[in-house]
């Protein structure tokens, strides 16, 4: 991990996960794994968040919610798909109500494997996302640069 210029805050949303990955994301905040040592705080407000952590796949009803949360986050932002359901739809991809992984709605930067994903791999995924975040900060997307760079 390279030097970080700010404390990254994460926004966690449960798309259509079975809870297994959710509680592991929360376990990362608990004293044993303690992601706060990287300055990471779990916020409930998309407008404060830098990293969107999504567990579970997209279904017909939460499609708009996920898109909405992503759009509300200020640039630069990164998306971490935690678990195989968020990556591809996983064991539920054949279910009638599941559309697929998160990447069929919004761009995903890091995919974390596992069912349920282990806290170690979630932390690894988020730390990787942080270097992508730094990268995006240095080279903002062209559309945003024309509008005056990062907000």
């Amino acid at each position: 991990m390279t030097h970080l210029s700010k404390s990254p805050w994460i926004l966690h949303y449960d798309a259509s996960s079975c809870n297994g990955c959710d509680i592991e994301v929360l376990a990362c905040l608990s004293p044993l794994y303690d992601v706060e040592r990287f300055g990471i705080i779990n916020t409930g407000n998309p407008k404060h968040a830098d990293v969107l952590v999504i567990t579970g796949g997209i279904n017909e009803q939460n499609r708009e919610v996920v898109k909405n949360l992503y759009d509300q986050m200020p640039d630069p932002k990164v998306v971490v798909a935690v678990g195989i359901c968020a990556s591809t739809g996983g064991v539920f991809r054949e279910c009638y109500n599941v559309v697929g992984g998160i990447d069929c709605i919004i761009p995903v930067d890091v995919y974390v494997p596992g069912c349920a994903a282990r806290p170690e791999s979630i932390i690894d995924g988020i730390v990787r996302a942080l270097s992508i975040l730094e990268e995006k900060k240095k080279n903002p997307a062209p559309g945003r640069a024309a509008m005056g760079g990062e907000r």
């Binding site: 449960d14 259509s16 809870n19 297994g20 959710d22 509680i23 279904n59 949360l69 539920f92 279910c95």
Partner: protein, 359 residues
Amino acid sequence: MSRRIIVPFGPQHPVLPEPIHLDLVLQDERVVEAIPSIGYIHRGLETLVAKREYPEYVYIAERTCGICSFIHGMTYCQGVEQVMNLEVPERALFLRTIWSEYSRMHSHLLWLGLFADAIGFENLFMASWRLRESVLDVLEETTGGRVIQGSCKVGGVRRDIPGETLECMVRDLEGFERDFKEIANVFLRDESIIARTRGVGVLSHGDAYHLGAVGPTARGSGVAIDLRKTGYAAYGKIHFKPVVETDGDCYARCAVRVKEVFSSIDIVRQAAAKIPEGEIEVKPKGNPNGECFSRAEQPRGELVHYVKGDGSRHLVRSRIRTPTLTNVPPLVKMLAGCELADVPVIVLSIDPCIGCMER
């Protein structure tokens, strides 16, 4: 008297780890009515029975919910075993009981942490979750998985717990009990917790019964239902009493869960003392033909798995009724008339597990 306004609560809300949406109809600061809407996590996994063979479906049943996944797998297996008339070895039944109780401890500690967080007591959240890790360590050591265990199968269990490991688990429970007593004291005696939970979200005995509340939500209102008393797995050979509180408020529901952790510790000790030697599985022969309702006590209440087979490798129908779904009508009742600031505490007090509820 001011006019009524509607405040949307969820699906994405800081206090909710999972999405449920409530439309709160407010008059001043008071909730007049709460209208729930669900469907944000619905996957439709019951239809996967047509695509997975019946022994494989255990894998899907366990992923109904990541918090009580072992009990989901076990209930499904019980149903299929009953349809196929399988005699599960005694040792497997005891192992199922032990893992169920560890799941209950981990689920209750998880809930106690989230509840403390909803009250705003972050230190207690951290303390509960730190203690929960020691339960997860046992589950990981004995089954290989932290939250999704995958150790149950039709006809028995996949792994055995060797005698020395069992002794070690029982020894470690002493330290766990001592640590949990400290946390339990805070939950039951701390003034700030009592101020936020006593008399909040009261559900009367009659309402709990008529609205079909299950699990700690019902037991907190004095309805003594505990499916473990029906004697599935090895519960018939173990002595315990359902934990019942009579006040029906958030404090009572919290107290039920705190006391259930102690009762789970006791059940594990008894099961470890009584577990017989022997086989841990029987090979299922043929295919399930018939139907069965299989019931079990989840940390959140009564879980029902309905299975129906027609003699082929695939089941015809699987139906899962989870405790959170039956606890939503009591929740709506509790919310009517409460203060807006108490809504997060009351919503959490039924221990909502939306992943379970919507399947």
